[in-house]
Symmetry: C2
């Protein structure tokens, strides 16, 4: 939660002069987003979000992210829509950073999702998978299974300082995942990070999806497995089968899961838990002792992984 | 720059139901404010700011701050106006914190003020001093000269780790200030923190003043001295006499400075530099080694103090 780069009014006025979005009235840095700097920009034409892409986002990936948002918005998926500048482009520059202005989406993210929210997100995820089927650009998943062992090796033996024996558990799991990982399931564009803070609701209705900066080309059912991890566990890390059933049934109503996809869900869910365990572990270990800001707890995903390891079949997730 | 306390949509919906400000459409934590948590709240009735008062703000002071904003807004000073709830009160509670909803002010704060901006802030400060003359509540300045020696003692000998010899310089200056501090100049409500990020402009026009959470009852000319420190130095810490003259002349056009006030300006400016030097020093020393966020540099105010110590009379500030 941070603004990494400040923006001056002069620079912002100059940027905005290149768009047909009226005159600048105010802008405020938003305490959201861990990779980029985000500003809520209010102009005489309405509210917009200005995103400055910081170093962790590869500039070469921006056309994929922005193109995907345009593609999805054109197909009725409510997501931030990149605003075209007077030259017809969507990528600008401010304060030495690549930047984009996108439309502002009304909606609230749900801190304590219930089964209805889970159903809504399942349905929206399936719609996203269908709507992006004809999106032409590709972006490999930089956080796919191939990246997990290097991530683990980056953390190294220090993992045991977070929990004794953690390294050994991770290595055993990586061995198992690399042997059993399904490689021939249906693929396409996945959001890859559809956590509750990236899904907006107005009242009981899902009103939009945001933050496409992990989106990539990968196994569609893996995206479902990410959502099971992100939406269907209780604060005590126990799996809520009612929420899982709601999410899976709503997804399958829009895009049927094949028998192979259903059978692979437990291992995909283990993989998704591993991915967040590892990135959180690396972030956790990167923070110096005594720092005021603590990153997210990696062990949350170790506990979720334990659940997935105990699963006998997809039935245990609430669907068969 | 932080949001210290997160707010759930359910809690915010419940709070907003107590006000006549329509239905919640979105809310985002703002990366502004060092003492409180601030959210930009968008409802069907418009934009508002929700502030949660964190521990560093004494709950007993809130009626002063909120009452002052109401008082000033009623007298034509553009500042955030506390929104009354259905019971007529302005103080609510959310996430276990006292909280208030205030109107949203359009405007941008100026990262690189010029002499015209300085004139505008001088005029606005004088108007604020006049408009609050009949405000009945009192609040002692918790960061007045009486607090500076205890602040210094809190930092203690560690001050020398920031700059060798700093402690000795501070003690000598405190001795001098305590002997010469003017105690019988005209008093009233002062903003006490009117830095550029608390003053909004739209185009060339000042559009509002914000952040009244250091406001208190103290010497009016001390508030002018704070502004000289905050607005009239260049990034290299040299004093810009053109900016100082613009600020002082515009102030005096609205509220004349007496001969005694003018004569006291150099010592008041030294005191104001000391106040920010000391609070920044304490904050600086409170941050553990290796922390990612560095607080503001206390030595900026040491350098400004050096300038004020060299001043022969108020003429050196650009006015006589």
């Amino acid at each position: 939660m941070a603004v990494y780069t400040d923006v001056s009014a002069d620079d912002l006025n100059q940027l905005i002069a290149g768009y047909d979005i009226g005159e600048l009235r105010s802008y405020k840095g938003i305490a959201e987003g861990v990779e980029n700097s985000n500003f809520l920009v209010h102009t005489s034409a309405g509210n917009f979000i200005l995103t400055l892409y910081e170093k962790r986002v590869a500039a070469g990936d921006l056309p994929f992210f922005l193109g995907l948002m345009e593609h999805l918005a054109a197909r009725g998926i409510t997501c931030p829509q990149p605003v075209k500048n007077k030259q017809g482009g969507v990528l600008g520059k401010i304060a030495g950073r690549p930047a984009a202005i996108v439309t502002f989406l009304d909606g609230l993210w749900i801190r304590r999702p219930n089964a209805n929210h889970c159903a809504s997100v399942g349905e929206a995820l399936a719609r996203l998978h269908l709507a992006s089927a004809d999106f032409k650009m590709k972006r490999p998943n930089a956080l796919s299974i191939d990246s997990w062992r290097p991530l683990y090796e980056h953390a190294g033996a220090r993992g045991d300082s977070v929990r004794p024996g953690l390294c050994n558990e991770i290595v055993k799991e990586l061995d198992a995942l690399e042997k059993t990982w399904p490689r021939d399931l249906p693929g396409g564009v996945i959001h890859a990070d559809l956590f509750p803070d990236n899904v907006f609701f107005l009242g009981d209705n899902l009103s939009g999806l945001i933050d496409f900066y992990f989106a990539c080309t990968d196994t569609l059912a893996y995206d479902v497995a990410v959502c099971l991890n992100a939406w269907c566990f209780e604060p005590d890390h126990s799996y809520n089968v009612t929420k899982g059933r709601a999410l899976l049934k709503a997804y399958a109503k829009v895009r049927a899961l094949s028998a192979a996809e259903r059978a692979a869900l437990p291992v995909l869910a283990r993989g998704a838990a591993m991915r967040f365990l590892l990135t959180r572990l690396v972030d956790w270990l990167a923070v110096p002792d005594g720092a005021l800001v603590k990153p997210k707890d990696p062990l949350e995903y170790f506990r979720k992984l334990r659940f997935h390891q105990s699963v006998k079949s997809v039935d245990d997730y609430g669907i068969n």
